[in-house]
């Protein structure tokens, strides 16, 4: 019998591969380590620092050559931490105490990590993870633990998966992800989602039952992991895997087909992306362009305001990959929950109702202008659109629009090429914007409804709060009315409305939204085939009947149930 471990499946699908432990526990290695004389240990530690710095330099070069600047940047910071002159002294002092080089290295970086953890500034606190990561890397070198060789597909497992681990792995080798922690917003999970890698979180101590190289089966639907499955157990999964392959093959046949109802009404299915590389994956699922490019990655992990030229390269890459389809780029949507060194946000009681997104952009010309100019220039290489987040009134939009005009003037003065006809629209994610949609529609080129925030703000429900998460429902009639109002307002002014929140990936919602008059649904790319299948099975006439029924209903849970049991 295999060991069966239960967790919470967050990304569906079945993965077969060998376990690769990230965030490895070094305790047993440390116990078995035989230290030499104190001087010899000091010499070993000093040599290890040099060797690890060299190895990092090789990886940095490799990542830079592949254009993976983000990952190169993380490792560059790690290299500076390895070569820091303060650390060699601190390690020597620790060797005098513990007599063991690897233990001393871990302790020295731990001390440093705790200094950073105690700091007030959130950005510095976050660096503690990197310190521990670096300490571990050097200790592993001293203990002779090789970075695991990756042969075939792996299932990456860890209590927490460290940034450098993800940065260092070839993504096509990752079959599945297992996290001990319960977080669905962890870095690893977000990456897994855009690439449809089956993932289970919240297994807790279950991680201890796995060893490196263990064969395993991960079931992202059931939230189960089988470690060292017997042949019999493996066979039992063969059927499921076969079904999954068949479904995949079926979805692949949908790739080139339009998202059209039986009576010929079509909607655009686009992808939500976080970086230009995601467009390739999205095209594989048959996405028609990008409905939401979260530009945050351009801003995160930087110590300084990102330059126009650097942003331009990223946006241009994404626009070009869209092959003539629209690429909607959302301007910076960052606030006090993810502070950056170059954005000063005072401590806020509630960062989600605070100084963030467009509210920052409108006050920080030095941040906003380079981004707008970069998008306008990228528009020359295909079709780009600018989208402002968190707008609550007409004035904000008009002010932001004025910045776009100023950006064009500046570009013209500088003699740089840019697209004149870039569409400018807003995310409708505050109840205020939805209520004011008839007025806003006069000025914008488009609306994109961000349901994640719209639902939270309208219902006053934090969906991360398990005690009240049953109240979070995008089919709540109040939410549906705001959505309908937004779409109808756009259509009345001859503009278009789309959706880029999670609701857009719900096949049960697609028919309803089409009947309301939505023109585009943007979602994480792996959801596209499911939504398309549903649309192709219904007629628009039937969709309109369904909408009428639903708008007469008063209970969000009943609406959800009704839509889930619909027959074409």
């Amino acid at each position: 019998m295999a060991d069966k471990i239960k967790g919470k499946g967050v990304i569906s699908g079945i993965a077969v591969g060998n376990i690769l432990l990230a965030g490895q526990n070094l305790d047993s290695f440390l116990v078995n380590y035989k230290p030499g004389k104190v001087d010899a240990e000091k010499k070993k530690a000093a040599d290890a620092l040099v060797k690890v710095a060299e190895a990092l330099q090789v990886s940095i070069k490799k990542f830079n050559e592949q254009g993976l600047k983000e990952q190169a940047g993380i490792l560059e910071a790690h290299r500076m931490m390895v070569e820091d002159p303060a650390m060699s002294g601190a390690i020597d002092e620790q060797i005098d105490v513990s007599k063991s080089a690897p233990k001393a290295v871990l302790d020295a970086y731990e001390v440093q990590a705790q200094v950073f953890e105690a700091m007030e500034d959130e950005y510095f606190r976050g660096r503690a993870v990197d310190m521990r990561d670096v300490g571990k890397r050097i200790a592993k070198y001293l203990l002779g633990i090789k970075e695991p060789e990756i042969a075939g597909k792996v299932i990456v497992a860890g209590r927490e998966i460290e940034p450098s681990v993800i940065a260092g792995l070839p993504t096509d080798k990752i079959a599945g992800v297992i996290l001990g922690a319960g977080s669905t917003t962890a870095h690893a999970v977000i990456i897994a989602k855009t690439r449809a890698i089956p993932t289970v979180v919240g297994v807790g101590d279950g991680i201890d039952q796995m060893a490196d190289g263990d064969p395993a089966i991960l079931d992202g639907d059931a939230g189960e992991i089988l470690i060292r499955p017997t042949d019999k157990e493996r066979k039992a999964y063969d059927e499921k895997i076969k079904k999954q392959e068949e479904l995949k093959a079926y979805y692949a046949t949908l790739k080139t087909l339009p998202a059209k109802t039986k009576d010929g009404k079509e909607v655009i299915l686009a992808a939500n992306i976080g970086s230009p590389a995601d467009v390739d994956a999205a095209n594989g699922f048959g996405a028609h362009g990008v409905g939401l490019f979260r530009s945050e990655f351009v801003f995160m992990g930087k110590s300084d305001v990102p330059k126009e030229e650097d942003q331009f390269k990223e946006y241009k890459a994404a626009v070009e990959k869209c092959n003539g389809n629209l690429c909607v780029i959302r301007t910076m949507d960052i606030g006090g929950d993810k502070p950056l060194p170059y954005i000063q946000v005072d401590k806020e009681e509630n960062p989600f109702l605070g100084y963030r997104a467009i509210r920052i952009s409108l006050q920080r010309k030095d941040l906003f202008m380079p981004q707008l100019k970069a998008i306008l220039r990228a528009g020359k290489y295909g079709k780009a659109a600018i989208m402002f987040p968190m707008v609550i009134n007409v004035k904000e939009f008009l002010d932001a629009k004025q910045f776009v005009e100023d950006a064009k003037m500046e570009l013209a003065h500088e003699g740089k090429e840019f697209a004149q006809d870039v569409q400018v629209g807003i995310m409708v994610e505050t109840p205020a914007a939805a209520v004011m949609a008839p007025q806003l529609a006069k000025y914008v080129d488009f609306f994109s409804i961000g349901t994640n925030d719209l639902v939270q703000y309208t219902l006053a429900v934090d969906r991360g709060n398990a005690q009240i998460s049953y109240l979070y429902n995008h089919f709540n009639p109040a939410v549906l009315r705001l959505i309908k109002r937004t779409i109808e307002s756009a259509n009345k002014e001859g503009k278009w409305a789309g959706m880029c929140g999670e609701m857009a990936s719900d096949p049960n919602a697609a028919i309803l939204l089409m009947a309301m008059g939505i023109k585009e649904l943007s979602m994480s790319a792996p959801s596209i085939p499911r939504v398309k299948e549903r649309i192709r099975n219904f007629t628009f006439t039937r969709a309109q009947e369904i909408l009428k029924e639903v708008m007469d209903m008063e209970d969000g849970d009943k609406i959800k149930e009704y839509l889930a049991n619909l027959k074409a």
């Binding site: 910071a77 500076m80 931490m81 820091d84 002159p85 303060a86 650390m87 440093q112 200094v115 950073f116 700091m119 007030e120 500034d121 950005y123 510095f124 660096r127 310190m131 110590s303 300084d304 060194p341 170059y342 000063q344 030095d366």
Partner: protein, 90 residues
């Protein structure tokens, strides 16, 4: 052996965050002299990014730069200029 010392005040908006810190360390490392930076009753190696970052030098902090070695004068003057020029920031 020469020694040199100078006072300066951190004026750039974000204080000594990652980028200014690495710039500062790279500059300090160009000199042969031992270079230290003192503030808030602590004194650390100006060639160590970890030590400098962990001091939490925000805007408005007064610091003292100290160097000891052949190029001490030049080291202190160069680093003082870097701080006075706000590390090329706002």
């Amino acid at each position: 052996m020469a020694t040199a010392e100078a006072k300066a005040t951190i004026e750039n908006k974000t204080g000594i965050h990652a980028r200014p810190a690495s710039l500062f360390v790279q500059t300090a490392s160009k000199f042969k002299s031992k270079v230290k930076i003192a503030a808030k009753g602590k004194e650390v190696d100006a060639k160590s990014i970890l030590m400098i970052m962990s001091m939490g030098l925000v805007k408005g902090t007064d610091v003292v730069l100290k160097a000891d070695g052949d190029d001490a004068e030049e080291a202190v003057a160069t680093l003082k200029k870097l701080i006075d020029d706000k590390f090329g920031e706002e």
